[in-house]
Symmetry: C2
């Protein structure tokens, strides 16, 4: 299976942002909506072999983690457009309001879970069952990397990962690059998905 | 330079659609917004070497063509989110209201032009200065194609190209495929852009 972990440094951790101005009010939840689109959608289909973790660190209640589990989600839950996906994220954040435990997950819809897990919690849980890669413009070229088994990818948002996250990842995640420039998170996910399809990696 | 021509079979050709429900009211202009995002945006940058043609064939006034010229556009005109891009498209369609001539272009913003040009008009104009490819799941694998000079790509929307367009393209456009499955238009554009970057094709 394929796991994508996206660290969103400024993404709001409550549901008070405006659907009329996602880039201006949500801490770039629009970017996360496009990342989910790239992770799950194919033409007239849905990738059930994908898990996405959104790791939200914006105000007012960081951290929040939202897990999207392709195997369990109903494909019709996630639509390609940004607005309906932003509403799903808002619904999950509303669900997290009363959540006190540091790692308990609450299922807000089939296959969609919210929790107070940290970025490190997510990564530690992920590396138990998958090989971890950190998508970074200075990483090894993706064409040279041999993928097999379960694969997981960490991606930054428009800001990138803070130094402490990079330090945490250094011993556990190989840096991989998709191309010679610095790309948007959703474009990198689209590229990685197609690249893995081409290699026949499930 | 890189040209992307997207045929949108059902996209509204006036500006009466709802920004609150693009997928349900606009004939999938949300898809075109994501295609523009994939064509032009890189992280903290803008691809000036890109031209996008949207060829709109939905009701009530088809055809409409909107040309986005990266060389001339102000990078801040196009933002990554869907909603602001849908507003740009609506603005162009409003501008086209009084347009009677079949091929005259009206500049609605620097580098953004609207006209009554047909899909065939766009393609004929494009092949004067670029090699044309038709992105199709049954095409030749993209890794085997030698790209050089100006390149242009035709892509369908969620419906795909109608048979008459495919017949028109057959003698003038090589079919190329990015991978073993059928992908969303925006994901294909993201893949092609990164692939060309990797090859060093401008």
């Amino acid at each position: 299976m394929r796991v994508f972990i996206i660290k969103a440094n400024e993404a709001r951790t409550d549901a008070t942002f405006s659907f009329k101005d996602l880039p201006g009010t949500s801490g770039r939840i629009d970017l996360l909506c496009r990342a989910l689109n790239a992770a799950f959608h194919i033409s007239h289909g849905f990738r059930k072999n994908v898990r996405v973790w959104l790791s939200l660190y914006g105000p007012p209640n960081p951290p929040k983690a939202i897990r999207f589990e392709g195997q369990i989600m109903k494909p019709k839950t996630l639509n390609p457009d940004e607005l309906s996906t932003a509403k799903l994220i808002a619904r999950a954040l509303k669900g997290a309001k009363g959540l006190r435990e540091p790692s308990k997950e609450l299922e807000v819809l089939p296959g969609i879970y919210v929790s107070n897990m940290t970025f490190e919690d997510i990564v530690r849980r992920t590396i138990k069952g998958a090989t971890l890669y950190y998508l970074h413009e200075e990483g090894e070229d993706i064409s040279k990397v041999k993928f097999s088994g379960n694969v997981a990818f960490v991606l930054g948002d428009h800001i990138g990962l803070p130094p402490e996250d990079e330090t945490f990842l250094r011993p556990i995640a190989k840096r991989v690059s998709v191309g010679p420039r610095s790309y948007l998170t959703s474009h990198v996910i689209a590229y990685v998905n197609i690249h893995l399809d081409r290699l026949g990696v499930l």
